[in-house]
Subunit: 365 residues, 2 copies
């Protein structure tokens, strides 16, 4: 049995262990009917480990507003706004853990792609400041970020102060490709105290763009959208929103061992990684590569694997469950295991599994 | 513990049992990597039991072309073409088992809705001849058929001979609502030997409709579509295709016991029913009703359920697996069971599960 150790996205917490009873999940809908206590899959409280200790301390001191770091020297800088989802009902504390894990995973993913960047959570978003995104490296950054689980969408933004004149200048610059044949809309969101409402700002910016370009306003189905996010003393202007994978950041939902012996297993592991579980891949190395592109950082090459082998690996590595790509019409004979076996494909159609397998294995996003 | 026995959709086969080694599934993609033999979840070979014995014999005698039965007396008749999916790679034999199970389930579902109908498989489709679909009962028939797993879409059709004149008359009658302001397209599929090609027929019918109504032909994005399916000596003309649930017919993929203690459990059971497993629901009766609408026919009311209780029920009822709606962040402490536990929600996002739960519980389709 050979072992491959990639750099780990999120360091495991020393307190991690099965049965540790503080959970991260929002299971409110089911609580009334639960018999046994929920156990969290590994310790989530301090999931980021030592890496983010300093940033957490800092964020506590400053009420969770970390100042944007100065960019790395040289090259054209670009600022990317990263949106995440699935946290509507989570507590402030859980959001913070999630944001820090997401920021750490973004740093690792950009690092693997050779992209220098500063990454920090702020205003309920995560911001990425890279070099050279406008100099041809933009596609690489986008590709890397689209493969970070937990991100729902990204936008390259122009940062200004919250002063209307500055916002106007940025919006005019962003809409300079507009011509009088085109239609456009200005969308504005605002958080904090300002001398203007978001409607007033949108109307003012809309007038200015109309005067400058001759393009007409169409709020229902515009050819072009200019979005303005005003957050306290800052504002962000952007024109494009790129959809990403969604899900939860790797490392925020416990640890699993995933069997990788066929294409279905790849789909199963991918789905569980997307739910945020730190994943140890075990099996045929040709199936590791598609998942490494999505942040898989620990894999074990091995020829054949029984449930007993998988269980041994899981217990050795402190994993809480085993993942396989079995479907309903091909369940293996059950060998008793002391860990739950997760089979995320049992409720999916063959067509959907095959399409997903094709997309993941061909390196699609 | 009270027991509810509904009429069963498909009678269990006497030869059913775990470990019986003829499978129905198409697991070709994974065969090379399989260690233990695939076991089929219950006997699928004779899944229809005695009910369809006669029709199977008949179909063998006639090379699987069962003549359309004469309709029940009285009332306006309507013929519905039922399409099914997920069988592209299956053998002829498996398709036959699937078609017979689907026909039996359609009969039961229409019967429960108080709709008299003849149902028979023919030409790789299933046909339903009902009374009164045009007299106001059409919506009931559609609602009932949209809740039969295995059906991908349905169309109310006009049946004619394969003679061009007959097809033309049916197509003209079906397009009588067309006006000269509208555009239309004629789509034609043909199986068997005829004196015309499908292109020739479509062009001829298109000309006739254009002459009669003044509507113009638009093959790319027509307002109205007239479809013609020519199958040997018959032809079917229709203008609407209603999307249905898809999946596999209940009873073609083994038997499971599903825990029904919360909304997530309902979603999990629904997904496994959609994969074709005959399902025994156990738990809180308020969660049974949404699934009864989808053909759930066996349920056991019980206050609280441990894995051990579920296992006992499963073994008593000859089920091959246990289904629960657990998600990744709320796995129960594992109690050892001798049966696989299926958790189809582990790979799904909270949003998707909640949306699915809302749709199923509100009786949506």
């Amino acid at each position: 049995m050979q072992e491959d150790f990639h750099s780990r996205l999120v360091r495991p917490c020393k307190r991690a262990g099965r049965g540790f009873e503080h959970g991260m999940g929002n299971g409110a809908r089911n609580q009334g009917t639960r018999k046994s206590p929920r156990h969290c899959m590994g310790c989530r409280r301090n999931r980021q480990g030592a890496d983010d200790k300093d940033s957490r301390k800092k964020s506590r001191r400053r009420g969770f507003k970390i100042e944007a770091p100065a960019g790395a020297a040289g090259g054209k800088m670009a600022l990317i706004l990263v949106r995440y989802g699935e946290l509507a009902l989570k507590s402030h504390k859980v959001r913070r853990i999630f944001e820090n894990a997401l920021a750490a995973n973004i740093r690792t993913m950009l690092g693997s792609a050779g992209i220098r960047a500063k990454v920090w959570p702020e205003f309920g978003r995560v911001y990425v400041r890279t070099e050279g995104i406008e100099g041809g490296g933009g596609d690489n950054v986008t590709t890397a970020l689209r493969r970070v689980f937990g991100i729902t969408s990204i936008s390259t933004v122009t940062e200004t102060t919250a002063a209307p004149a500055d916002i106007m200048a940025a919006a005019l610059s962003a809409s300079k490709t507009l011509t009088k044949e085109k239609s456009f809309a200005v969308r504005c969101k605002r958080t904090g105290n300002h001398e203007y409402s978001s409607q007033q700002l949108a109307a003012q910016v809309g007038d200015a763009i109309n005067n400058a370009t001759g393009a007409r306003v169409d709020l229902d189905s515009p050819d072009f959208e200019i979005s303005i996010d005003v957050r306290d003393k800052k504002a962000f202007v952007f024109t494009e929103k790129i959809r990403c994978a969604g899900g939860m950041p790797l490392g925020t939902q416990g640890k699993v061992v995933a069997r990788l012996q066929n294409e279905n297993d790849v789909v199963a592991a991918w789905l569980i990684m997307k739910r945020g579980a730190e994943t140890i891949a075990a099996g045929n190395s040709k199936y590791f590569e598609p998942l490494v592109a999505w942040g898989l950082n620990y894999s074990i090459k091995v020829e054949t694997l029984s449930y007993a082998d998988l269980e041994k690996l899981a217990l050795e590595n402190g994993a809480d469950a085993i993942v396989t790509g079995e479907t309903l019409d091909e369940l293996e004979e059950l060998e008793k295991t002391s860990l739950p076996i997760l089979r995320p494909l049992v409720g999916m159609s063959e067509e959907r599994i095959a399409a997903k397998a094709k997309s993941i294995i061909s390196g699609g996003i």
